[in-house]
């Protein structure tokens, strides 16, 4: 039985074995005591692979998921490819002469609330960072679209390497001339050999402007640029664990209706149809919400999203103290329930 991806990596299962043994192997399960200059990660993920040189230069990154599937980018073949590329870089990179002052996660004021011995999870780091910005009045909604997926440019990358599997027609990547089968080599000045390398490079990219790309087609190297238009980072972030700590909460919770249930109510397959579960918060109950109410929209507008995305939508687009009218189906009637967000 192969077990989870984590277990397979731990055993250095084939095809990792011989390549994996060329590294000093280190497994960590806690952010406490780690320098955020080195562990500069997509903190909402629960599995990260990093290759690091003695001077703390990060040579490669591996891991990731899409909005639907945890571990979507996990592949032993892809990890092997990334490790091989990291070894190539290790032999050619220029070591740094200075090391930045360590930034420990414990230095965030919010970290003290966890207690001095408690495990600091990866997602806590994002929550600490957000809280610091909220307290300083510098947080903006744009801070929530971190580590954009390559799909934000119109690219789908092969999880087993850095080959481009698909280019969305009329996307920024298509306009730059990228084609399926090309091998992406650099994003701006960052070498890339995995989807996570690309996401880390995109994370550093500006909110608007140009992004340079280098790719190989056959034996020829190409260089071009993509135009980053406003909002290019906005992909589905509803899966992000740290988002659950962003107020306000939606004051409703439950699951999506089944296809059959939707059909009976005349609700389309991609429309919001969140059935309130057995726990109705007191404020929502006082406002008139009941168990088994089906939330389908806000302020008279039907929404195209699932229950998880609805929670993220409220957290991202509304503020604490705001009163929002939820559109609710109950016993064949459509109601409007005013909910004060907390």
């Amino acid at each position: 039985m192969p077990g989870s991806f984590d277990e397979q990596v731990a055993r250095l299962d084939l095809p990792l074995g011989d390549v994996g043994r060329r590294f000093v192997l280190l497994r960590l399960t806690n952010m406490r005591g780690l320098d955020l200059n080195l562990f500069d990660l997509d903190y909402d993920l629960n599995w990260h692979g990093l290759v690091v040189a003695q001077d703390r230069t990060v040579l490669a990154r591996f891991g990731g998921r899409d909005a639907q599937t945890p571990g979507k980018h996990h592949s032993l073949a892809g990890l092997r490819y990334t490790l091989e590329k990291a070894l190539e870089r290790f032999n050619t990179y220029e070591p740094r002469t200075t090391t930045p002052k360590p930034r420990l996660v414990e230095n965030y004021a919010a970290a003290a609330r966890l207690g001095s011995k408690a495990c600091i999870h990866c997602h806590h780091v994002r929550e600490f960072q957000r809280e610091e910005k909220l307290n300083a009045g510098t947080w903006t909604i744009a801070d929530e679209w971190v580590y954009p997926e390559p799909s934000a440019l119109g690219l789908t990358l092969d999880v087993d390497g850095d080959r481009i599997a698909a280019v969305r027609p009329e996307s920024a990547a298509a306009a730059a001339g990228l084609q399926p089968g090309d091998v992406l080599r650099q994003v701006n000045s960052d070498d890339v050999a995995s989807i996570m390398d690309v996401q880390h490079a995109l994370h550093q990219a500006p909110a608007q402007g140009k992004l340079s790309l280098t790719w190989r087609r056959g034996t020829t190297m190409h260089r071009g640029s993509v135009e980053l238009s406003e909002g290019w980072r906005r992909t589905d972030v509803s899966w992000r664990w740290s988002l659950k700590a962003l107020p306000p909460g939606p004051q409703v919770s439950g699951d999506d209706l089944s296809d059959d249930e939707r059909q009976k109510l005349g609700i389309g397959p991609t429309q919001l149809a969140l059935r309130q579960n057995g726990f109705v918060p007191r404020a929502a109950e006082q406002a008139g919400l009941r168990v088994n109410d089906v939330i389908v929209g806000i302020e008279g507008r039907l929404l195209e999203m699932n229950a998880r995305q609805f929670e993220a939508h409220v957290r991202l687009h509304f503020r604490v103290g705001q009163t929002v009218r939820y559109d609710v189906l109950r016993g064949g009637q459509r109601l409007s329930v005013p909910i004060k967000l907390q």
Binding site: E7, V9, G20, L25, L26, G33, L41, L45, G49
Partner: protein, 67 residues
């Protein structure tokens, strides 16, 4: 067996100090793989850099972070 594996994987969630976690022989034994020649994973960053400085190898870090 599945329950035992799940219990082992969930252990860090409840742990207040995970310094003893990350030694893979425990995890490997849980999967029925108790090879004595299995890979050695360190669990201390400073120790990993000390070994890397001595051997000249880069470090492959797995950060397996429970939610």
């Amino acid at each position: 067996m599945r329950f035992a594996i799940a219990l082992l994987l969930l252990t860090p969630l409840a742990a207040t100090d995970s310094s003893s976690w990350g030694r893979f022989p425990t995890c490997l034994a849980a999967t029925g793989d108790d090879r004595s020649d299995g890979p050695t994973w360190l669990s201390d960053l400073d120790q990993a850099f000390a070994v890397a400085n001595k051997t000249g190898q880069p470090i492959f870090i797995v950060l397996s972070c429970p939610h």
